[in-house]
Amino acid sequence: MTRFVLGRLAWMAAILLGVSFVAFMLMRAIPGDFAIAAAGSQSVAPEVLATIRRDLGLDQPLMAQYLHWLGSALTGDFGRSFVTRQPVLGELLSRLAVTVQLTLLAAVIAAVMGVASGLAAARLRGAADWLVRLWNGLMLAVPNYVVATLIVLLFGLYFPEITVLGYTPFLESPLGNLASLLLPAFALALAVSVTIAENTRAAVLEVASQDFVMVARAKGLTPAAILRDYLMRNALTPVITAAGLKIAALLGGSILVETIFAIPGMGQYLFDSINNRDYPVIQAIVLVAAGIVVLVNTMIDIAYARVDARVQM
């Protein structure tokens, strides 16, 4: 077990190294001169450009630049924004906090909706099962940004008195904070909840046909106890694992949903940075987001292996 964990961690480190290299190279692959992009204008005196080059280390070999950038990034120094001239880290952290909030809320909503409807589809036979599956199939085809746009449209048309755009910080008003994130989180969660529902349905049906469920019924246990201890406990492990791997989808989706709902998270930050060609910020966001996904996936892998060792027959 220890060997497995160490192996996974080493593997994670290797992937992160690869990820950082990709993130670095992408921003060096931009057409044109990086120094001009940094200056933010075409008409810059050659001396100024030379200074910028020296400051950013652009006159060094590429590999040296990468190692320098990586070393700084590891200590939290992602350089300065081309636009605000402020260090990227501070802004990034405050944006990240908002995105994490949104993503976690979406994960909770997706899990509750997905498990509930999946369970319903598995336990109810016939028409109910069929309806849930039809709904799931349809929802799978509706991208989260379409859902978000349509939500904004519907509220604008029919409930214009309700503000759906914008964000209330937690410290200002905890309830207002939750209210401001609820609709975006729902839009983000919908597609993921469908996947969770399908997985739950399949897992519960699979577990229900196992002999130990028949044994539990023969023991005279109540349906509630069988559902909790025998069906759910066995079915939810693979479901939660699969759901955890959806964190990447949620993070990716938050870029779109934050932009639509005007929520000052990392996604909106990325969107703005792309429009402003603020490359250090793009680089930092790509690195941090991919890092989070790799980290979460590794943790799920390890947690699942622990459970699996127990389940292994």
């Binding site: 690869g18 199939g137 991208p143 790509v286």
Partner: protein, 284 residues
């Protein structure tokens, strides 16, 4: 015992007819989309870039889906915009498919170190959230149609390679492959004659699913302003532009939204139909 066997057989038969129904429905939807796309200039009632003073008009006999903020016909833009969106989607998936086939076959068949190197490199790409990587690459390279195709191909290649590699790994141990090898069949012929056909089913299903996901990614990029440059219409861009005035002309948003959903749904239905018809387990 006999009873339960016949039950299983009956279930299988039912699954297959249901699969054919789904597949037929999906292919019909695809055919409709293709006709609209190929004959777009003939079918579109107006030029997609022709403006008129009649801006943000509601649905009417002249403009079935109304007009946008500078008076362009929404239906015409949808029909023509489908061309760009579908062109990028299909080309990108084809490139990813070819790259995934080459890498997956090489990794699965050659095995050993080559397998390790290929799969580890692909794992790095796989570690990025799809949309994030696409955004970063397009932001770096610039949003032109060839760049979009290349980007999306890169993003989906690792998943394709995995889908190809898994069956190859199991298939190559099979007896008839061993037999063919023992009678001295060349490696190349072995791969083409015996391995490729068996891995085709999961690949077909995966390709169809990837097409549906690619529609999402392509339109999402356009939605974020990283799509093909204006004034050529595309679905994601139309949705994004229309948001500003959507409460005045809801159809300008609903139109592209429905188009995106229809295209995604088409490929999902085809994938599910193929899965049942070809009897492929779940493909991820």
């Amino acid at each position: 015992m006999q009873d339960s066997v016949s039950v299983v057989a009956a279930r299988k038969r039912a699954g297959i007819t249901q699969g054919w129904l789904l597949l037929g429905l999906g292919l019909a939807m695809l055919a409709a989309m293709l006709v609209l796309t190929i004959f777009a200039p003939l079918l579109a009632p107006y030029s997609p870039s022709a403006t008129s003073p009649d801006s943000l008009a509601p649905a009417s006999a002249a403009h079935w889906l109304g007009t946008d903020s500078i008076g362009r016909d929404v239906l015409s833009r949808l029909i023509v915009g489908g061309r760009t969106t579908l062109l990028i989607t299909v080309s990108a998936v084809l490139v990813a498919l070819v790259a995934g086939l080459i890498l997956g076959l090489a990794a699965g068949y050659l095995g050993g170190r080559i397998d390790d190197i290929i799969m580890r490199l692909l794992d790095v790409v796989f570690a990025f959230p799809v949309l994030l990587l696409a955004i970063a690459v397009v932001a770096a390279l610039g949003p032109t149609v060839p760049n979009l195709i290349l980007t999306i191909a890169i993003v989906y290649t690792p998943a394709m390679a995995r889908v190809v590699r898994a069956p190859v790994l199991s298939v190559k141990q099979w007896d008839h492959v061993e037999a063919a090898r023992s009678v001295g069949m060349s490696e190349m012929r072995l791969v083409l004659r015996h391995i490729l056909p068996i891995v085709v089913s999961p690949i077909l299903v995966a390709t169809s699913l990837t097409l549906s996901q690619t529609i999402f990614t392509v339109t999402a990029l356009s939605f974020l302003g990283l799509g093909p440059p204006p004034p050529d219409p595309n679905w994601g861009g139309m949705l994004s532009e229309a948001r500003q005035f959507m409460e005045l002309a809801p159809l300008t948003v609903v139109g592209p939204a429905l188009a995106i959903v229809f295209a995604t749904l088409t490929f999902i239905i085809i994938a599910n139909g193929l899965r049942e018809v070809l009897d492929v387990g779940s493909v991820r």
